[in-house]
């Protein structure tokens, strides 16, 4: 599981090494590290890391260990890999139903409507869907479009 972790480190030599130790000790594999020196605030520098931990428990223990050595944690959240899914819906559809569906971590990144008031109304949707949930989200959309008597065309 990948996590996006941002730390505020004192701008002194040796602080980064000190902060990395608990990460390594708890099984974290660092994917990327950015030292955001330009965002330097009152003697602290933000350091953004993407870390692959075996489980969420490993992240929790790392945070505890970092706090114990007085490292300030600005952010720690799971990195969700997303897939862009383009869809076309043919027919009159209540857009509210789509919005109300509220698929977790799914974002509408593009929307285009053609001939909205006619029988041939068409909507193109671009969605950012968590990669693991693409099949589930498509199945749910298929169900909704069937109920609305709308044709759903997904990408291959």
């Amino acid at each position: 599981m990948k996590y996006d972790v941002t730390l505020a480190l004192a701008d002194r030599p040796g602080q980064l090494v000190k902060a990395l130790e608990p990460i390594a000790k708890n099984g974290g594999n660092i994917i990327s590290i950015i030292h955001e020196r330009e965002k330097h605030v009152e003697g602290f520098v933000p350091v953004s890391l993407v870390v692959d931990f075996p489980s969420k428990a490993n992240l929790r223990k790392t945070i505890e260990d970092l706090k114990a050595i007085d490292v300030v944690i600005i952010k720690s959240e799971e990195v969700i890999e997303t897939t862009r899914v383009t869809l076309i819906l043919i027919g009159k559809m209540d857009l509210k139903r789509l919005i109300e569906a509220k698929f977790e971590n799914t974002r509408i990144s593009g929307l285009e409507v053609s001939a909205p008031s006619s029988k041939e109304a068409c909507i193109k949707l671009d969605l950012e869907v968590p990669t693991d949930s693409v099949e589930w989200v498509l199945d749910q959309l298929k169900r909704v479009s069937k109920e609305e008597d709308v044709i759903l065309i997904s990408s291959i």
Binding site: I88, I90, I151, S154, S155, I156
Partner: protein, 333 residues
């Protein structure tokens, strides 16, 4: 090898023409190749010394062939009496029960006759049964023409990917719907107009439901799933949506985003035939009456094969299946 052709329609007749024209290739594998019988629903002609192919090509009805014609003689009777080694079965497809082709193929395999067929019906209805029957009786059972016409998808997997495991297949398996959707894409016509033109050009039947409702593509998907992925799939297992509801608005909207709408058959966890958005730079994005099959395997990863799915090119698949039977018989002799 003594051969009979059951079904003397477009494909059967064209096969006679090709056998006549390419005799030199046939002779390479079998010097004694003879076409001894041809049948249709009205009767059959049979001559154990071999039929005169030039004469056969000139006649419209089998009854015009002369003394070797048996009026009302059934194809089953020809299969039984001909003592043939190979039957090419090219009767019209009926997907409800696979008949009459199913009975002809069963009869032939039961008495040890190799079978080449272009008929989807029997394979959709009874693929496992026919494959088992062929194996039990040491017969070849080849059906390249049943899916995507001249596109040699079964030969490709059988010969060139025999060590690969096929994980997923997707394809444009119906030339008529691809023609209609291509017209809508390039000429911005409505579905109704594109269909009318397809009917005028004889690309689509007067009753277009077999094509536009995805029935034909679903049949092909069942055959692919059973033959290449060892599934026990039936026609009813295919989730199916045709192209009747596709509007010009939808095609244009897709085009603006660099997609074309195509009727795609997919074998993954489930079997599905449905209109899909195909990126215009994807190898499956072929136009006109072309078919394309995209195979994903464990070793080769992705392979796409493109060609004509119906019409005069289909004879290539049937003729090459015949040659495969002759070649294997020569090797094992």
């Amino acid at each position: 090898m003594k051969t009979i052709i059951v079904g003397f329609g477009f494909i059967g007749r064209d096969l006679v023409r090709v056998i006549n024209e390419k005799r030199d290739i046939i002779t390479k594998y079998d010097r004694n190749f003879k076409l001894v019988g041809v049948s249709n629903s009205k009767g059959y002609i049979y001559n154990e010394e071999g039929l005169d192919l030039e004469k056969l090509l000139k006649i419209k009805n089998l009854s015009e062939y002369g003394k070797n014609y048996k009026d009302n003689g059934s194809s089953l009777e020809l299969i039984q009496k001909s003592n043939a080694d190979l039957m090419v079965e090219a009767t019209p497809t009926r997907i409800q029960d696979g008949e009459p082709g199913l009975s002809y193929i069963k009869k032939a395999l039961n008495i040890g006759i190799h079978v080449v067929t272009s008929n989807k019906g029997p394979l959709v209805v009874a693929f496992q049964e026919l494959s088992a029957l062929a194996k039990k009786n040491n017969c070849e059972f080849l059906f390249e023409a049943t899916v995507a016409g001249a596109v040699p998808i079964f030969s490709l997997v059988r010969e060139c990917l025999q060590g690969d495991k096929v994980k997923r297949i997707s394809g444009i398996l119906n030339g008529t719907t691809n023609y209609i959707l291509s017209k809508m894409y390039f000429e911005e016509t409505s579905f109704e107009l594109a269909l009318k033109e397809a009917q005028e050009r004889k690309i689509s039947e007067k009753d277009p439901s077999y094509d536009v409702d995805g029935i034909d593509a679903a049949c092909k998907l069942v055959i692919l799933a059973n033959a290449l992925m060892d599934r026990n799939a039936k026609f009813e297992d295919v989730e199916r949506l045709g192209i009747r509801g596709i509007t010009q608005n939808a095609v244009s909207l897709a085009k603006k985003s660099k997609f074309a709408i195509k009727l795609v058959g997919t074998i993954d966890k489930k079997l599905e035939v449905a209109p899909k958005l195909v990126p215009i730079n994807h190898p499956l994005c072929v136009h006109g009456t072309l078919n394309a099959v995209h195979v994903e395997t464990d070793l080769a990863n992705e392979i796409t094969i493109i060609g004509y799915g119906a019409g005069k090119e289909t004879v290539s698949a049937v003729f090459n299946d015949v040659l495969t039977v002759l070649k294997k018989a020569k090797t094992t002799a």
